[in-house]
């Protein structure tokens, strides 16, 4: 699929006549992907060089991780806008334990592995909390995650004890810029592993079937015996887990944890990626590969803007147009 993005459309087209709009709806993320690659190839200087492509894939990493979690949340019929703050909380927890330690508790800085484990756990707890408030207390997902989004940055600062902590010259920072064999960025390896895992989850597990069922018809899901509360909690916790990978890897790459900027506005890019990827916002089937291409499309827009000296504000407008086109083609037949 990755090597020939437009091949499936052509194949089905030969089997039986299918409306162009249907094909577009199914493969729209790839359509945008191809268009933006071509566009970039023409207008962005040095776009097709390895360095630029590699940077693109490294920069898209946090958005892609978060968007994968968001795909599951949206598949269940919910939404999570607290993802950026969860990234910050997770990064802050890791950095505090790894770099600073907690002097009031007499806690010296710990090793990277335990610090990371705590960072991941903190993010999962945030997701868990989201899930409980949404499924058990029955509060609207947008409200719950809005609250966590706002409170989360404050919490992140409390955890970190300061606005930013440098990770320079640590082995964590080295890991963030590690290139396997001196060529392949470590982020690319993680993406391959996580995407493969997510595809497995969505295609093969009971969990994903239940998530899809809840997203498709919540009442029916309850009446068929699905434990809607715990499945929903599971979805938001999974999203939190993916946010922690995004947050920590991003912090390691830029060698700093800044609670004000780590993961800021990532929810918009992630939601855009899911929209472009074709997962229905009313809930239903999670489209992992769609989201993968959707995230790259979002990043390509950013690159067009950044590398052609177009002011950043236009990138937001450009993304908005793409999201609207994506959602417009998704609307009910």
């Amino acid at each position: 699929m990755t090597s020939k993005p437009d091949a499936p459309a052509v194949e089905t087209g030969m089997l039986k006549p299918i409306k162009a709009t249907e094909v577009f709806r199914k493969y729209e993320s790839m359509f945008f992907f191809v268009v933006l690659i071509i566009l970039n190839a023409f207008i962005t200087p040095e776009f097709l060089e390895w360095g630029t492509l590699r940077n693109t894939l490294v920069q898209v990493f946090p958005v892609m991780m978060v968007a994968l979690g968001m795909t599951m949340v949206i598949s269940s019929g919910g939404i999570d806008i607290s993802v950026g703050s969860i990234m910050a909380i997770s990064g802050a927890t890791t950095a505090r334990l790894y770099v600073t330690g907690v002097s009031s508790l007499g806690l010296e800085p710990v090793g990277l592995a335990p610090a990371l484990a705590c960072g991941v756990a903190a993010a999962c707890m945030c997701g868990f909390l989201n899930g409980i408030l949404i499924a058990k207390c029955k509060i609207q997902p947008i409200i719950v995650t809005l609250v966590v989004m706002i409170a989360g940055r404050g919490l992140a600062q409390i955890i970190l004890g300061e606005l930013s902590t440098s990770l320079l010259f640590t082995s964590f920072a080295d890991f963030g810029s590690l290139r396997i064999g001196g060529v392949i960025p470590v982020q690319m390896l993680i993406v391959v592993v996580i995407v493969a895992a997510m595809i497995f989850v969505v295609k093969k597990t009971n969990f994903a079937k239940r998530v899809e069922a809840i997203g498709d018809n919540r009442r029916a899901a309850r009446l068929v015996g699905i434990n809607t509360v715990w499945v929903t909690v599971g979805v938001y916790t999974l999203c939190g887990l993916l946010c922690s990978i995004a947050g920590n890897m991003e912090a390691a790459r830029i060698s700093v944890v800044n609670v004000g900027s780590l993961g800021l506005l990532v929810e918009l890019d992630a939601i855009a990626a899911v929209a472009i990827g074709g997962t229905a916002f009313s809930g239903g089937k999670a489209r992992i590969m769609g989201t993968v291409f959707g995230a790259i499309v979002v990043q390509l827009v950013t690159i067009i803007v950044n590398m052609n000296n177009i002011p950043d504000k236009y990138s937001l407008l450009f993304k908005a147009v793409i999201v609207i086109i994506a959602l417009w083609t998704q609307r009910k037949k």
């Binding site: 009971n206 079937k209 069922a213 309850r222 699905i226 089937k285």
Partner: protein
């Protein structure tokens, strides 16, 4: 009858009407004639073809064969507007008027008298008032919003609207279903007034008392065919029922007699005592035995569905106890009920049954995922095997396990939902209106699936608004009214007068049961 057709003067003559839907012959060579100034009852069981015939007449469906002559002209309405233009108006059960507009606006909506391009509100109100006055509704303030009016008045307004567009023929489909007795009286007065003005009414109702009160003649359909046309005075309620179901009372009851013998001493699979929850369920006790079909009858809002939901663990009872195989159980969610071996099909397939955007296979196996998987990883092969087995076993019309369920017909969707539980070998099936919205063919298939299940020993609790359906299938019928159980007819009683009484008097049977 054909000779009659030629001689007499009819307002409407439908001759040899046939209509097929994929897989179903809904109407076969049906004749239907209405004289000017008469109220004509169109009778038949659900699925007999009444609504299809009316839809052909009013342009919602197009006939495959036959001829419609209205007022001397041959017509073929392509849509409701054309039928209305010809002079045929339909008063639907759910009124298609606009709640927030005033009464007057609703009467004239879409064809308001205008002055210099603007709607002339004054004339609208005067004309509306005039029409309502003529119908004996002097008290209605035509300027008031439509929603403030009682359902009866709303219905009158719909009729007024029809009258004002000079309809010659009114089709009323279950017009009294949401009216009080007093309101029914008002409606009938209006119908009588309309008859005097030589307007004709096609009257469809399940309530036989009303049909006998207001109608002059009746046409009876069964399984899409014409049974006959009868003057009302030639019919009794019992005769009409026999004609509608196509059997005399005896044959209906055969299954029951056979079943009645063995059931008495079987153990109850599920026994509930004193279930209460709010005002909808009050001190209800019921039990279902192995292999028994227990019917639950009652009006809409009598607490039937609420009872089913408590038994299935969807709602928690406030008091009372449920025992399964003689052991008290506590159910906090449907999941608990399912673990006890219960299955449930909701009355609302679309909102509470199907996962519309998922495949037939996924829909069918959603309740047995753990069985088909190892460590949470689902075996699609096993899933497909189950789906294929039940698709062929239940003769589900689908292109295959991967087809989306929303693309299937109502009857086939219902079969998938039944299969969802059958593949789990349930001990108790709770079925809320299992044949609602399903065509004739599908209906009888579903009914036979249900009776087969019972014969295999599954206990079945079946709710239905269609008494005939309950009578055909059930071994015992519990009657609910206003949240209370007002009576129960056991196999023997069903086989004797009680059941015919219930059939003949429809919902009012509950009062008689009360007196027992």
């Amino acid at each position: 009858m054909t000779s009659q057709l030629a001689n007499e003067d009819y307002l409407l003559k439908m001759k040899g009407i046939s209509k097929s839907f994929p897989g179903v012959k809904a109407l076969q060579q049906v004749d239907f004639c209405v004289k000017p100034g008469e109220a004509h009852a169109l009778m038949g069981e659900n699925g007999a073809g009444k609504s299809t015939l009316v839809k052909v007449l009013t342009g919602i469906h197009q006939r495959d064969n036959g001829e419609i002559v209205f007022d001397g002209n041959s017509i073929s309405p392509a849509n409701a507007a054309q039928a209305q233009h010809a002079g045929i108006s339909t008063i639907y059960q759910e009124l298609n008027l606009i709640p927030d507009l005033s009464v007057a606006e609703n009467v004239f909506i879409g064809r308001e008298p205008r002055k210099m391009g603007f709607i002339d509100w004054k004339t609208v109100e005067t004309l509306a008032k005039d029409i309502l006055d003529k119908m004996g509704l002097e008290d209605v303030d035509v300027g008031e919003p439509f929603t403030r009016q009682s359902v009866a008045v709303q219905q009158m307004v719909a009729i007024a609207r029809a009258v004002s567009i000079s309809a010659r023929l009114l089709v009323m489909d279950e017009p009294t279903s949401s009216l009080s007795e007093k309101e029914v009286g008002i409606l009938f007065d209006v119908i009588r007034a309309l008859k005097k003005k030589n307007m004709s009414v096609i009257f469809i109702s399940h309530k036989l008392d009303e049909v006998f009160e207001i109608c002059d003649r009746a046409t009876i359909l069964r399984d899409g065919r014409l049974v006959g046309e009868y003057p009302m005075q030639d019919l009794t309620k019992l005769k009409m029922i026999s004609l509608m179901i196509g059997r005399d009372a005896e044959s209906v009851l055969e299954r029951k007699r056979e079943a009645a013998d063995g059931l008495g001493d079987r153990q109850a699979v599920m026994a509930a005592t004193g279930l209460s929850r709010g005002r909808k369920t009050r001190e209800v006790s019921i039990d279902v035995k192995t292999g028994e079909i227990l019917g639950v009858a009652g009006l809409l809002g009598s607490g039937r569905t609420e009872l089913a939901r408590i038994v299935f663990g969807d709602h928690k009872q406030e008091s009372g106890q449920i025992k399964v195989n003689d052991k008290p159980v506590s159910m906090k969610s449907p999941g608990d009920a399912i673990r006890l071996g219960f299955g449930f099909c909701s009355e609302d397939r679309k909102e509470e049954g199907i996962f519309p955007n998922m495949s037939v296979m996924d829909n069918m196996t959603m309740a047995i995922l753990p069985k088909l998987s190892k460590a949470g990883v689902l075996s699609q092969k096993a899933q497909r095997e189950v789906a294929e087995t039940y698709i062929s076993k239940m003769r589900i019309a689908t292109s295959g396990p991967d087809q989306l369920i929303k693309e299937l017909s109502g009857g086939n969707q219902q079969k998938v939902l039944l299969a969802r539980w059958l593949c789990k070998n349930p001990v108790l099936m709770i079925l809320d209106e299992p044949t609602r919205g399903i065509d004739v063919g599908g209906k009888s298939e579903i009914e036979s699936i249900i009776t087969d299940l019972a014969d295999k020993g599954v206990a079945i609790l079946m709710i239905s608004s269609e008494l005939e359906e309950l009578i055909r299938s059930c071994d015992r019928i519990a009657v609910l009214s206003e949240g209370k159980k007002v009576g129960e007819l056991n196999a023997k009683e069903i086989s004797e007068d009680g059941i015919m009484h219930m059939m003949a008097h429809g919902h009012d049977a509950r009062e008689d049961v009360h007196d027992e």
